[in-house]
């Protein structure tokens, strides 16, 4: 007995298999006992872990845990952070036919110990100076507002990203005032609701602030604030997995392109090539799986540039090099009982230092991006507490006198996927590798742009052009031609 399931996307196909065939008749047992035993059996089966397939959760020692990569996939997404899973989710939404394409997400570190997503402060704002960034943020805000309609899975509890709509407050000195006002005009044209405040208005609204040397401030009134990145990442993962996205743990370290097949013309490197295989290396092992693929999406975040360098691409195919590098950023947490109250926004000072309220018990998070010449070594995620003592704290204490006495609680470090060219994301196809798409380099605002960037790349892959957001200016062409698209509001 097989039932045909229908859902909002039409015919889902036949609901599988042997467990719906008519059960053999029970011999002479009262009906309640039979169904009771059936329920007991189902409950016991549900208790068993679903990992590990046929092994029932135990794998022989020496074998890598988790599912192995398949031998072929239509789209391989390298990187299992929020951008990678967003691309995978939108690919499934736009594919048009259930199980129309096989999408594989490859994540190097399933514990996410170094992933930028989960170490992020979690802010979302529309106050950017580039129109594309403003539009991506607005798209993402409306996505997050209706997150249960997009990412809700039946029979699971509703998703709560713990969004705090407190807004961003950017302060500007007299030198920067004209620039800030021009930026606010642009943001308002794009539909963002931003208010300009004078020092007197600032003092009235936020009496805990010292407004010395502040000429004007811009305050986001709606759809700005912060949320929990882990919840968003898990929501994307769960929904994408329920739509049929495969995932595996592994490190992509090699591409096999069609350049090896083509006859070399007098030793010249081929102009373009297609990636035919992706080599996924198993963790702690020498073995690797070549996965035949049609399309590769590079969502490796801070390591997007390193992926292309290490991929063993021949000759000029790796040119121009992708200028995306990991940059270490510290986030410090402290407790201050007399600090700013409930109305505290995410304040970005004239000096670049920022902080926000964390919960309601008088805790705050903050940090600062160091100047170029003082960039810390991104080799590991160790925290430099002197940076807080000497650089961040004095600046914040000058702006908020209550912070003169605070108790540091802890700190962590994470990576920005810093685009050294112009500090904006790179989205779109590679100039030389025909089936490689890139979605990385957001330089600190990748989390808030992830839903929009995922949709944009999925539209490029499925339909061949941008439909909901026109992000052509964020493509690779500007890197090749040397025309930076600057973003002033990088925090």
């Amino acid at each position: 007995m097989q039932r045909v399931l229908r859902g909002p996307r039409g015919n889902w196909g036949v609901s599988g298999g042997c467990h719906l065939l008519a059960a053999p008749p029970l011999p002479n047992i009262p009906a309640e006992l039979g169904s009771g035993l059936g329920r007991l059996g189902q409950a016991l089966k549900d208790q068993l872990p679903t990992w590990g397939g046929g092994w029932g959760g135990w794998t022989p020692p020496g074998m890598p845990p988790g599912p192995r990569p398949p031998e072929e996939a239509d789209v391989v997404v390298v990187g299992g952070g929020v951008v990678g899973w967003s691309v995978a989710y939108w690919l499934k939404v736009l594919e048009g036919q259930r199980h129309g394409m096989r999408v594989l997400v490859v994540e190097r570190d399933p514990t996410y110990s170094r992933a930028s997503t989960v170490l992020s402060v979690g802010g979302i704002r529309q106050q950017f100076s580039l129109p594309e960034n403003i539009r991506m943020s607005r798209f993402s805000a409306s996505f997050l507002r209706d997150i249960n309609e997009h990412l809700g899975v039946p029979n699971e509890p509703p998703i709560d990203i713990q969004f705090q709509p407190s807004g961003y407050l950017f302060l500007a000195t007299p030198q920067g005032a004209a620039g800030l006002e021009a930026t606010v005009r642009l943001q308002r044209e794009e539909g963002a609701r931003v208010a300009l405040l004078s020092p007197a208005q600032l003092k009235a609204k936020f009496p805990w602030m010292d407004t010395e040397d502040v000429a004007v401030a811009s305050y986001g009134l709606e759809d700005e604030g912060w949320f929990d990145p882990w919840t968003l990442l898990n929501a994307f993962r769960r929904k994408a997995a329920s739509l049929g996205v495969h995932s595996c743990a592994g490190d992509v370290r090699g591409f096999v392109t069609s350049a090896e097949d083509a006859m070399p013309r007098r030793g010249l490197a081929p102009a373009t090539a297609r990636i035919k295989y992706v080599h996924i290396h198993m963790p702690d092992s020498l073995e690797y799986q070549p996965v035949a693929c049609a399309i590769v999406v590079n969502a490796a975040g801070a390591w997007a540039g390193e992926l292309l360098r290490a991929a063993g691409l021949p000759g000029g195919l790796a040119e121009p090099p992708l200028p995306i590098q990991p940059r270490k950023r510290y986030v410090y947490s402290w407790h201050c009982p007399d600090g700013p109250g409930f109305s505290c926004p995410l304040l970005v000072d004239t000096t670049g230092a920022y902080f926000r309220r964390d919960g309601i018990a008088g805790n705050y998070l903050g940090g600062m991006s160091p100047p170029e010449e003082e960039e810390p070594d991104p080799g590991d995620l160790s925290v430099d507490h002197d940076f807080f003592q000497e650089r961040v704290w004095p600046r914040l204490a000058r702006r908020v006198p209550a912070f003169a006495s605070l108790r540091p609680r802890g700190a962590w470090a994470g990576y920005y996927d810093h685009n050294a060219f112009d500090r904006n994301g790179v989205l779109g196809p590679h100039p030389k590798l025909e089936n490689l798409f890139l979605a990385a380099g957001f330089s600190g605002h990748g989390l808030q742009h992830a839903p929009a960037a995922g949709r944009a790349v999925a539209e490029l892959v499925v339909k061949g052009r941008y439909e909901s957001l026109d992000l052509r200016r964020l493509g690779w062409r500007r890197l090749v031609e040397g025309e930076p698209l600057g973003e002033d509001g990088v925090v």
């Binding site: 909002p8 309609e149 705090q164 709509p165 407190s166 609204k205 009134l221 409930f342």
Partner: protein, 201 residues
């Protein structure tokens, strides 16, 4: 099998028609009529400036609302209606709204509360009591409402009601906060109905 079986959480179902934007009325009749028509079609009540009576959907309201088309709306009772973020499009242009009752709205969440800043100059009484999706994070956005004198937050689920009450009182110095008391997770007895006069049920 969306929306059926054990997982048929009514909060997950899309809200019905009252999130439509009655923009087609705006050009002919103005913002106040748009807000009044929207509120009345949701099942709520409207009170205009200078009027003592609330207009309710049970009465014949269409001719009366048209008669008052140039009078500002000062009070809206949207308690128990399926109002949501998009439905607020109909209300945000109001400039003289003084009393807003949003208690018991099942779809009103923190994002929607973030839109109420537009009433910062006029709103004096606000109720978000018993809204299941409102949390302390949405309450933190109410600091824009400088004229607020009564805020009813009974039944709003927050982690520590006593602390949130203190933070609210600190944030809105001239405002009386009702319904969030120490040592009680869901607020105590329901406060007297705020403002205006309601006709007997």
């Amino acid at each position: 099998m969306w929306g059926t079986g054990r997982g048929a959480d009514p909060l997950l179902l899309p809200p019905p028609a009252p999130s439509r934007y009655c923009g087609f009325l705006r050009d002919t009749y103005g913002d106040n009529v748009v807000a009044a028509v929207f509120t009345l079609s949701c099942g709520g009540g409207v009170r205009f400036e200078g009027q003592e009576r609330w207009i309710r959907p049970e009465n014949l309201w269409r001719p009366e609302v048209l008669r008052l088309r140039d009078v500002p709306v000062v009070a809206l009772d949207l308690s128990g209606t399926p109002l949501n973020y998009n439905g607020l499009d109909n209300l945000v242009p109001l400039t003289r709204l003084q009393h807003l009752d949003l208690s018991g709205c099942p779809h009103l969440d923190d994002w929607a509360l973030g839109r109420l800043h537009v009433f910062g100059d006029s709103l004096r009484e606000l109720s978000v009591a018993r809204c299941p999706r409102v949390t302390e994070r949405g309450l933190a956005t109410l600091h824009h409402l400088r004229e607020l004198r009564r805020l009813d937050v009974a039944g709003v689920r927050v982690p520590s009601p006593g602390l949130v009450r203190i933070l609210l009182e600190e944030m809105l110095p001239g405002c009386q906060v009702l319904g969030m008391d120490l040592g009680d997770g869901t607020g105590t007895d329901s406060p007297p109905p705020p403002g205006g006069e309601k006709p007997p049920a």
